[in-house]
């Protein structure tokens, strides 16, 4: 009863409707200008084919979509996106979790370790792309040179698999910092006594990690899974643009890059808009799927 009253007092209540509206207005305006308006435009434009000069538009209904799904390049881009985002998510989360577990065991110097690990997050994706591109440059890259010494001929400009590997590593690199922070916070939120209880119960490090730590970390893991997949779908554009521009032979053209390539390079605005709509639908569906099916296995 008493705690209930305190809770009620803490809750802020407004008398009118205007002040609360005013307070949420900035967020609504930002969402409207940068999300609802472009998304609406994309849906609208996906139903037309404009002429190359943008002077007229011809209604084609779902024609753009029909064309897309019979286009083998577009279907290949789906597979590329799936491989790319799964790899980026796995690499960035796996490495981050490993580093976080190590940092969590560290007593002295963990502050320095943590600070250094956060730095890559401050590097913009496009800049990160340039850094990695420089290291793996086929003629002057330092890593390429050492690989050559070892007898491996690195050439991501010609080899699609090498190109994919490079963009995955470059995209995951900056992300590791972000994931590391969350994993470390998650690990430190697990009560020490629970780990000790498991140790007394006979569980050694790996068993404890598998049966206690990882399940208790699941809210963090789930959150990062959602965020990282969205990252891999959209924000990696800069990395791909600087390193491979989607090549060679479209082997690194993920869906978001194809939107750009077809729309701004190929000037096929109708198709580009239709692709945006498909992308929107995929991310929406993925997020709903994650919340519906994976979240059930999450223990808060």
């Amino acid at each position: 009863m008493r705690s209930g009253r305190i809770f009620m007092e803490k809750r802020v209540t407004f008398k009118g409707i205007w002040l609360p509206l005013l307070l949420v207005l900035p967020q609504i305006v930002i969402t409207a200008v940068f999300f609802f308006y472009p998304a609406g435009q994309a849906i609208y434009q996906s139903l037309f084919i404009p002429d190359p000069f943008g002077l007229s538009m011809q209604w084609v209904g779902l024609g753009n979509f029909a064309f897309l799904f019979s286009n083998s390049y577009y279907l290949a881009s789906f597979a590329t996106t799936a491989i790319f985002s799964i790899l980026v998510t796995l690499v960035s989360m796996g490495v981050a979790l490993y580093l976080a577990v190590l940092a969590d065991r560290l007593i002295k110097g963990s502050g320095v370790y943590r600070t250094l690990l956060i730095w890559p997050y401050a590097v913009a994706p496009a800049v990160a792309g340039v850094l990695w591109l420089f290291m793996f440059n086929t003629r002057v890259g330092v890593v390429t040179w050492y690989l050559g010494v070892l007898g491996y001929d690195w050439n991501h400009v010609l080899n699609g698999e090498e190109a994919m590997g490079l963009v995955v590593v470059a995209s995951a690199w900056g992300r590791i910092s972000y994931n590391f922070l969350f994993f470390l916070a998650g690990l430190q939120a697990i009560p020490k006594s629970v780990i000790e209880a498991a140790a007394i119960d006979g569980a050694r490090f790996w068993t404890r990690f598998r049966t206690i730590v990882f399940p208790m970390l699941s809210p963090t893991t789930f959150f990062l899974l959602v965020v990282n997949i969205v990252y891999a779908f959209f924000e990696t554009f800069g990395v791909i643009h600087t390193i491979t521009s989607g090549g060679p032979q479209q082997s690194t053209t993920i869906l978001v890059y194809k939107v750009y390539a077809d729309g701004f390079v190929g000037q096929d605005l109708g198709s580009s808009a239709a692709q945006s709509v498909v992308l929107l639908a995929i991310v929406g569906a993925l997020t709903i799927f994650q919340f519906k099916f994976i979240e059930r296995r999450v223990h808060y």
Binding site: S193, V194, E196, A197, A199, I200, G202, R204, I212
Partner: protein, 335 residues
């Protein structure tokens, strides 16, 4: 079931010494309570027995076997934590079965042992629930169940009742005692609550700033405190400490004397000292009368509620038997 012995056990964190050498031999099936104020090192001592803290010097042995270097899991102990430390993502059954599963116990036996423990602790109906769906007392029982099913040689309790409300604490105290008696397991129990220590212990260890001030049966510790600290810490209200000049025939090196509140009487005839009644607390069966003495110290007299209760502000005489006074020297030791 086992004996536990600590000899010269010390602990330092860096340059800070927190435990200055503890010696105790615990018999098989004995219930030992380690009691002391916060920061006295009692939890650290227990965690050293559990293997969660390293031993700086000295030796801990369980059933005659040195365990200093053994991992917690190899010491044949079970521990109940203050916050219970239940696995939040597992059912009550899985919480209790966890240790057995890791040990590779056959499934049938796990089920049998968990169900046996559950019925002993009246948890039978809750086996499928998660810890967060249980009350504080039930969580406490699950934590004990987890300890019981493994049939350890020694039970370790780290302030297990301090998160419960007063009424539940009294009830669980009784249950723990009965359980330990029934299972006959050696138990080490850490608490800051002297009532828990008095009621649970076969023998208690009163710790003060990393030193065991006194080890003994509860009534012996209560009746014959070996240091001023023990007299003040054990007993509620605590022992009265008075200036040595008020006592009957004190030893030469005594600087202070202690008298239990129940050994003091309010009487004018043959009064040792006189004082002003500040206030009287009527607790029902008994009344605590707080009296301000001329030197400014306060003495508490515990008397039956049937006795006449002095009015506040009146001056009264205070008296006690010579046999009930305890003399302490400058170091706070009994003399």
């Amino acid at each position: 079931m086992a004996t536990v012995s600590l000899s010269g056990v010390k602990k330092s964190f860096g340059k800070t010494d927190v435990i200055h050498g503890i010696d105790i031999d615990i018999a098989d099936g004995e219930f030992i309570v380690i009691v002391g104020p916060s920061g006295c090192g009692k939890s650290t001592l227990l965690r050293m027995v559990a293997g969660l803290e390293t031993v700086t010097s000295g030796e801990i042995s369980i059933d005659g076997r040195r365990v200093n270097e053994l991992e917690p899991m190899d010491r044949d102990i079970a521990m109940v934590f203050q916050n219970y430390a239940l696995y939040p993502h597992m059912s009550v059954f899985d919480n209790m079965a966890y240790g057995l599963k890791i040990a590779g116990t056959p499934k049938g036996e796990i089920t049998a042992r968990v169900e046996e423990a559950a019925s002993l602790l009246q948890l039978g109906d809750y086996l499928k629930r998660r810890p967060r769906e249980l009350s504080g007392g039930q969580r406490q029982r699950v934590a004990m169940g987890r300890a019981i099913v493994r049939k350890p040689a020694v039970f370790l309790f780290d302030e297990p009742l301090s998160n419960l409300d007063a009424k539940l604490r009294v009830q669980m105290r009784l249950e723990i005692k009965q359980l330990q008696r029934r299972l006959g397991v050696t138990a080490l129990y850490v608490t800051h609550d002297q009532v828990e220590a008095m009621t649970l212990a076969d023998r208690m260890v009163v710790m003060n700033a990393g030193v065991a001030d006194q080890i003994g049966a509860p009534l012996e510790v209560y009746g014959n405190p070996q240091t001023e600290f023990v007299g003040g810490f054990i007993g509620s209200p605590p022992m009265n400490f008075l200036d040595v000049s008020l006592g009957h025939a004190m030893p030469a090196d005594a600087i202070r004397l202690g008298v239990r509140p129940e050994h003091m009487q309010i009487a004018d005839a043959g009064a040792q000292t006189r004082g002003k009644v500040m206030y009287a607390e009527a607790l029902g069966a008994e009344t605590l009368v707080h009296i301000k003495l001329p030197d400014g110290s306060i003495a508490t007299v515990r008397q039956d509620a049937t006795k006449p209760q002095p009015d506040e502000g009146t001056e009264v005489g205070v008296t006690w038997d010579k046999a009930d006074q305890i003399a302490f020297d400058a170091a706070g030791k009994r003399c």
